[in-house]
Amino acid sequence: MRTLISISDLSKTYSGGFQALKGINLDIRDGEILALLGPNGAGKTTLISIICGLINASTGSVTVDGYDIVDDYRMTRSKIGLVPQELTTDSFESVKDTLAFSRGLFGKKPDPGHIEKVLKDMSLWDKRDNKIMELSGGMKRRVLIAKALAHEPEILFLDEPTAGVDVELRKDMWHHINALRESGVTIILTTHYIEEAEEIADRVGVISHGKIIIVEEKTELMQKLGKKQLTLELQHELADVPDTLNAYKLELSDDGLRLIYTYDSQEERTGIAGLLSDLHDASIKFKDLHTTQSSLEDIFVTLVREGQ
């Protein structure tokens, strides 16, 4: 897959001296959904603000489809749609007018047909003549997305699109985002919600303290860093783990009725067969067993901790 956005050695130090980005290098592929995960203040919004032209970078460069974001800003910005984190909408304008304004601002001639399509896709057609101030928070969020799509961008930046949005609307958003990807739009979203990245992203990038800690295919990341755990439900309470089983670094639950074995699923030999055999030798009987895989959230927490 070809690289659509290329970020090289990008740094940003604000006038107060705070270094928000520290030498970011990242390639974003055409047609993918990339989720940027990171705690508050990690630099996610600064990164996308620089690419979109809201903030000047201190050093480094960004190209979009081969064009530099500073020297060829007209080319790069016309390809990008941005949905900001805050609900920053006009108040007195109608929904339809605000979309027409956005389309014009991005240099596209009026196209009522496209505006109608976007409004219908975003379930806003019924509200097209309403003033924006009359809409609910969820609808305003959809208006922001519709505004970003009014000029038919190739790339869509969504800065925490589902922050403060109820579960139903969040799922609705995911559906819309997936539909956009299907239509060929490259999507970069920042989020706090791991489940969001897990649900819709192709790749996941983790930012912490202004640095990209890792960028991986979501499934590979989970496989590579995902630990598996085997939990054995014992038939009889166990006071201590016998010394003969020390090699497995087993954890015994407080009630003595569960043994937990953590192993790397990528290893050729997981050690499960040996463990079961040694348990038999130690006369420890179990009535049930199950395995669990660590979630993206566990991986994220581990990565951020290690990054610190």
Partner: protein, 253 residues
């Protein structure tokens, strides 16, 4: 040139005026009528003619200038301050528009509104006093130049302001006093010699004087000086706006 963007900004700003059409048109008509009742009839009847012009007619260009200056500053400063305040400026900054196009949209709309307002006041004044326009083309040139210059000045105030209070402070404490002290309602010949000298430092004097000349061919300072001063002020405003966008002052972090 992104003409669609200029048009979008211009129409967006003009739509704001249309939404508030009643206040936009009726309030200047009422206030102008009040000025004529107070200055034209009540006080003006006791003032002798100035250079052969009745006092009521004499103040018309000054009244129009008062509205043009204050409205240009108010329209343009609010136009750019509000997106800054509400956060919607993100869209402007992320759009493929040049600084020139942004200014053309905002300042163009603010100046258009002021010019329309000026013409409404002129028509209203015509209902109260006889008006003659000796040089209609020059009258329009002064009107447009002043509206554009002070809209640019308002744009700068809108960028600079960090609160609604700051947005009001320059128009209230600087623009309005300068207009009142700039010979809008009197000829500076009526002032003592020292104040005449001091008034020459007031840039508004040159605007009012040039504008009044286009009506009655009477002026406190030469027309060439009036044109020079307004061009200088326009140049200063253009340079300041260029610097604002070059450095990102108050706009980009």
């Amino acid at each position: 040139m992104n003409f669609h963007a200029v048009k979008a900004i211009y129409l967006f700003e003009m739509a704001r005026t249309i939404r508030t059409l009643f206040q936009s048109v009726v309030s200047p008509v009422i206030s102008t009528s009040l000025y004529f009742v107070v200055f034209g009839s009540a006080i003006g009847s006791r003032i002798t003619e100035i250079d052969g012009i009745s006092y009521g007619s004499f103040i018309v260009p000054g009244l129009i200038m008062l509205s043009i200056l204050t409205q240009s500053v108010a329209n343009a400063s609010f136009g750019i301050y509000f997106p800054k305040y509400s956060g919607t400026i993100y869209e402007l900054l992320s759009a493929p528009v040049s600084y020139f196009e942004i200014i053309l949209g905002y300042v163009g709309a603010a100046a258009t509104k002021s010019i329309i307002l000026g013409l409404i006041i002129l028509s209203t004044a015509g209902l109260f006093v006889p008006i003659q326009i000796a040089h209609p083309l020059w009258m329009l040139i002064f009107l447009v130049l002043t509206a554009v210059t002070f809209s640019l000045f308002g744009f700068i105030i809108g960028i600079w302001a960090n609160s609604f209070e700051q947005l009001q402070i320059i128009p209230l404490l600087v623009v309005t006093p300068l207009v009142f002290l700039g010979g809008s309602f009197y000829s500076i010949d009526m002032l003592p010699p020292l104040w005449q000298k001091i008034t020459l430092f007031n840039p508004v004097l040159y605007l009012v004087s040039g504008f009044r000349w286009s009506f009655y061919e009477i002026a406190d300072v030469s027309v060439a000086w009036s044109l020079t001063m307004i061009t200088v002020f326009l140049g200063v405003c253009m340079f300041t706006v260029w610097w604002i966008f070059k450095t990102g002052y108050q706009v980009k972090k």
